[in-house]
Amino acid sequence: MERIGDVTNEMELYFDSHSSNEAFARVTVAAFMTQLNPTVEEVSDVKTAVSEAVTNAIIHGYENTLHKVHIRAWIQGKSLFLEVADKGVGIPDVKKAMEPLFTTKPEMERSGMGFSFMEAFMDELEVESEPGKGTTVKMRKEIGRGRELWTTQSL
C-alpha cells in the first residue's frame, strides 16, 4: 500500500461484535477523518467501506458469536488508512471471497458485494487472512483529491 508523508494522527477502537456497533464504528471513523476536510461524498464512501468490513468481521469472522473487533485508523499525508481486524475463522480463499456476488451465506441473503463496495469506495484494498487465526482488511483512501481540480477550474 502506497505510503507517502508522515503519520500525523492515529486512533484505535476495540468493540464487541454486536451488530449495533456497526453504526458506532462507521460514525467514529467518519468523525476521525473530518480533520482531512473531506467532502460529504468522501465521508459516505468511508462509512460504507467501514460498515462492510465490520459486518464481515461480525457475521463471517465471528459467525455471530461475541468477540472483539479491532479498528486502527491513521492519517498519513493526504490519505486515511484503515485496518479492520478480527480473530475469527479466517477466509480459506481470499481471491474467491473477493469475487463480486460470491457469498458463503446465501441463506442469510448476503448480497456478496461487501468487498466490491470496499474496492469501489476506497483507493486501495488488501485482505490478509489465515484460517483459524482471523482476517485483517487494510484500506486506504486519499481525501480531497477532486477538490483542488475543481478550485483550479473555477479560477
Partner: protein, 103 residues
C-alpha cells in the same frame, strides 16, 4: 420502521441507516407481511435514508425473489443521490425501478 399495505402493495419506509443490524428486522417484518397479505408489489421508500451498505442490497434482492415468482415488482422512491449511486453500483437496478417524482 413503518410499513403500509394497500391491497397487494407493500410500502417499506426504510430507516435512516440500512445496514446489517437493521436489515434483519426489515427482512423479518416484510416477509411476514408479504406472506400474510399476498403482496406482489413492494415499494422501498428512501425518504428518511441517508446510509445504506450491501446489506440493504441483500434486503432488496431477497424481497424481489419472493414476489418475482408471482409476477411482482419492486420499486424505489424518494432516493437521494447517494442512494442512487449505491443502487446503480450494485446492479440492483436491473430488477428494480426508481420512481422519480416531478420536483
Amino acid at each position: 420502521m413503518k410499513y403500509q399495505v394497500q391491497e397487494n402493495c407493500l410500502t417499506i419506509f426504510l430507516p435512516e441507516d440500512v445496514d446489517h443490524h437493521n436489515a434483519e428486522e426489515i427482512k423479518r417484518e416484510a416477509d411476514r407481511l408479504i406472506d400474510r397479505e399476498h403482496i406482489r408489489y413492494i415499494i422501498f421508500d428512501f425518504a428518511d435514508t441517508g446510509f445504506m451498505d450491501s446489506s440493504g442490497i441483500g434486503v432488496i434482492m431477497g424481497r424481489y425473489k419472493k414476489v418475482y415468482m408471482m409476477g411482482g415488482e419492486v420499486w424505489a422512491v424518494h432516493t437521494n443521490e447517494r442512494m442512487r449511486k449505491i443502487l446503480t453500483m450494485s446492479g440492483v437496478m436491473k430488477i428494480m425501478q426508481i420512481y422519480e417524482e416531478d420536483k
